[in-house]
Amino acid sequence: MNVVAKPEALKPKDYASDQEVRWCPGCGDYAILRAVQKALADIGAKKEKTVFVSGIGCAARFPYYLSTYGFHTIHGRAPSIATGIKITNPELDVWIVSGDGDSLSIGGNHLLHLIRRNVDVQFLLFNNEIYGLTKGQYSPTSRAGTRSPSTPLGSVDKPISPVAFALGAGARFIARGIDSMQKKLPDVFARAHAHKGASFVEIYQNCIVYNDGVFSNFTEKDVVANRQIHLEHGKPIIFGAENQFGLRVADGKLALEVVSIGEDGITEDDIVVHDETDRIMAHMLAEMQGADRPVAIGVLYCDPMTSYEEGMQGLQARAKKQSMNHDLNELLRRGHTWTVEDA
């Protein structure tokens, strides 16, 4: 037996395993791995209490590169396995790492129910809008018309919006990040971790090999300021290199529109203030999509409610108080029984 001395505080590198990282050079996954390691250090995660669960895909290799507990499972099923872990030991801190195909195609049903039940996990969806591991087929988040080995003439089906999906499933925490956002991404993860219940985080991740630059319309250096909105709870939604843009509720519609502050008599007072607990606001932010529109980054929605495990624990506590079935031997002898005497 050797006693593991508890280090004062772990550093990001302490969360790295001894395994060689094997993503393609330049893959966005490296940056997300760094951000997760930093977030773990920031929140002081206990390695022995932390479990990373993944399905199949490039992103699903993630657990091998961390020094915590890890379970690399089967395609799409990580949410179900994580649910089993949490109902067995709610004390464990469970993170799920998944890609867009894993979570929204083959595993769509499981993600839906993980969120609906509000299982207390962090769900990180690395969205690169493509199947990487199987060599570049279009995915459920690929835009219509995507040319890929399986759709040489362009895809016909329309993409799903991960954030809108999560909202529809009843998510109580929704955030968005970008792989390249090294400063802010760890904070987004820390917020997701702090939220009790299913925390859903979509991370735009560049697949340099099969879908390079698919997010460049809001990630290229020269457009970042004007095309990304970094949300802050309680603050007006203002963005732009000179803070010249803002969002307001469009006249007579339930939708957000981009306006220029100072033009047409628009002042800061007309700009809507971000309220994380406002579900309608989250819906409007989720709907804000398209090549010509800015992308909302950060915590879109956070309004906690009882987690599934808490609900289950409550139920068991209630059963312990009310039920007659406390002892198996007693239970077997309850109801109609009869005794056969010695002849």
Partner: protein, 625 residues
């Protein structure tokens, strides 16, 4: 509510009843006639009378079939007697037909010159037409081969409960108790347990309790006082020789739920039961869902795959993950099973088999998932497979499944079927506190740890559970290096790991009992090899054939995979091997391939269990006698 009574060893005094060694009664009526409840009460009264018994409920497939139709008939069969009751009976001596549809559906199962008790009050023109009768069979002489007791039970019931002020509808619902009282007299059963039960059940509505008791007594009185069947004085069935102790009736689904729970207690593990509703497996989930206070966690997943995966997650986290389904659902769990095989986590997969393929006949029974269990996965992916042979046996098999799963770190598939799940038999209640424990030891040693470190004897890998500092590790479905547990694509390593997984499962046979001959000589002319729920009919058929002087032996296999070590040797001691199965010859193929034995099948796939007569005939024709 608990009631317990004592079976008194006494000779019935109400002679001159006609003595029978055994009898089969089938209660049949409309779904709303309360036949299952009536059958349940008759079962209890029969157990209290000291008979051996076996029962089987036969529900309509439709949830709410229209009243009076043949497909809405709900039946309950009980076979009881003084010795060797192993099945619910081939054909019946007494048919209770509460309406024309019940008579129409069930008549074919009645013995020649068997008794029919029919409620003429429900044989209206409309009901006769609904059942597909042109005339009234009670009046047109078509039942002359039987002994018919035709009474207006509906009216007699209304008369008997008149003073209790029930509505006509409520009063008519006492019909089944009236009938039960009548049958109680026919077989000399006591009414006390049923009146006690009625008083508890209707404690909040004493007028209903009183009316039902009145109907029960009235039925009994009519049978006793009126001249039914010319001088008939009722039947007497001598008591069976039954080991002393406390008994209850148990269905396979209950016994399995309790056995798995007992297994988890003996392993000192939290039970996590993850399932998705499917016929006929759901009753296990229902039973366990009432057991939260016993520390049983149940999880109704979004689908079969999620149920299997959640169970795997539970085992990964240090619980005993169990998932349950029927064949089509188990097919969906296949990939997850592969993960449990590859990561070598304990898992119990319960399959209540039903008639297939595809949706097949969900409420009908079959034993046709043996190939699926033993072979039905991609790649070389061996698991342990066990099969329960009777409702009560499910308890022991449930415990054994947990023991093997945890000792060998492997999935264990447990086969039952629709027949065993629903059928009931008396069960000598075991003392769980006295059972030998097999507590699981999680890995605690951090020195030299890797997740695929193995026990040199069982080859089971160490079970390291998240939460322990110093044992952090990563596992997954990718092939592991034998020496470190890290990902490995090394060709020689894959060969080695495949061999180890195979050897581990094969080694389970060193830890399980050798195959015994259930009945008949150990060496001889013919071995009749069965498995699963056909135990009852095979056992009784072999009994009968031995009594006739034929040289046959019954071998019944619980350990389907790996097969018992001595089985090959045992089979080679017989001139002939015959394998009766409710499938097209699955165990037959396994035995032929494992032992190169020229076994022959007796096969039946009608959705119905074997009858004893069918088996006797099949064996005779194989023997050429």
């Amino acid at each position: 509510m608990s009631t317990t009574s004592t079976v008194k060893k006494e000779v019935p005094v109400d002679a001159p009843r006609a003595e029978l060694e055994s009898a089969v009664v089938r209660f049949a009526g409309d779904s709303g006639d309360g036949m299952q409840l009536t059958g349940g009460q008759f079962t209890l009264a029969t157990a209290l009378a000291g008979n051996d018994l076996a029962t089987f409920p036969d529900f309509p497939a439709e949830i709410r079939a229209p009243a009076g139709t043949t497909f809405g008939v709900s039946s309950f069969q009980i076979n009881f007697g003084s010795h060797g009751i192993k099945t619910s009976g081939d054909s019946f001596d007494l048919l209770v037909a509460m309406n024309p549809a019940a008579l129409k559906v069930e008549l074919k199962g009645l013995k020649q010159s068997g008794i029919i008790l029919a409620d003429t009050g429900s044989f209206s023109d409309r009901n006769l037409r609904k059942a597909g009768y042109d005339g009234n069979p009670l009046e047109d002489g078509s039942l002359d081969a039987y002994r018919v007791i035709a009474l207006d039970i509906s009216q007699l019931t209304l008369d008997s409960v008149k003073e209790h002020g029930l509505s006509n509808k409520e009063a008519l619902r006492c019909k089944n108790l009236w009938t039960l009282g009548f049958i109680y007299w026919m077989f000399g059963r006591k009414r006390k347990a049923t009146t006690d039960w009625l008083e508890t059940k209707f404690a909040k509505r004493p007028e209903l309790a009183a009316a039902n008791v009145a109907a029960l007594n009235a039925g009994h009185a009519v049978a006793e006082t009126s001249e039914i069947l010319d001088g008939f004085q009722g039947f007497a069935i001598p008591q069976a020789t039954i080991s002393p102790g406390q008994y209850r009736a148990v269905t396979g689904a209950e016994a399995m739920a309790w056995g798995l729970t007992a297994g988890c207690q003996l392993a000192e593990l939290q039970m996590v039961f993850c399932s998705y509703p499917i016929t006929p497996a759901s009753s296990v989930l229902h039973t366990l869902s009432t057991m939260a206070a016993l520390g049983v966690t149940t999880f109704q997943a979004e689908d079969e795959i999620a149920a299997a995966c959640a169970a795997i997650g539970a085992s990964y986290a240090g619980g005993m993950g169990i998932t349950s389904s029927s064949g089509p659902g188990v097919a969906l769990k296949g990939e997850a099973l592969g993960l449990a095989i590859s990561t070598e986590l304990p898992l119990v997969v319960l399959n209540s088999q039903r008639a297939g393929p595809s949706t097949g006949m969900p409420t009908k029974t079959e034993q046709s998932d043996l190939y699926q269990s033993v072979y039905g996965r991609n790649a070389d992916s061996p698991v342990c497979v066990l099969a329960a042979r009777s409702p009560a046996d499910c308890f022991d098999v449930g415990i054994e499944a947990v023991r093997i799963a945890t000792k060998f770190m492997t999935p264990v598939i447990v086969l039952t079927d629709g027949y065993i799940s629903n059928a009931a038999e008396p069960w000598l209640i075991p003392d769980v506190a006295e059972m030998r424990k097999f507590p699981v030891k999680f890995e605690a040693e951090t020195e030299g740890f890797h997740p695929f470190k193995r026990d040199p004897k069982t080859l089971a890998r160490s079970w390291a559970v998240p939460g322990v500092a110093g044992l952090e590790h990563r596992i997954g479905g990718i092939e592991k290096d034998y020496n470190s547990g890290h990902i490995s694509y090394d060709p020689a390593n894959h060969q080695k790991m495949t061999n180890v997984r195979f050897a581990k499962i094969k080694g389970i046979a060193d830890d399980t009992p050798p195959q015994k001959v259930d009945n008949g000589p150990d060496i001889g002319k013919m071995a009749i090899v069965g498995w699963g729920s056909s135990y009852g009919p095979i056992s009784r058929a072999v009994d009968n054939l031995l009594a006739e002087g034929l040289e046959v032996s019954h071998i019944h296999i619980r350990n389907i995979w790996p097969l018992p070590k001595n089985l090959g040797g045992l089979l080679s001691g017989f001139d002939k091997v015959v394998v009766p199965e409710m499938n097209n010859g699955q165990m037959l193929t396994v035995l032929r391939s494992e032992y190169l034995v020229d076994a022959q099948g007796i096969n039946k796939v009608t959705g119905q269990p074997f009858t004893i007569a069918e088996l006797e005939e099949g064996v005779r024709s194989q023997l050429g006698v």
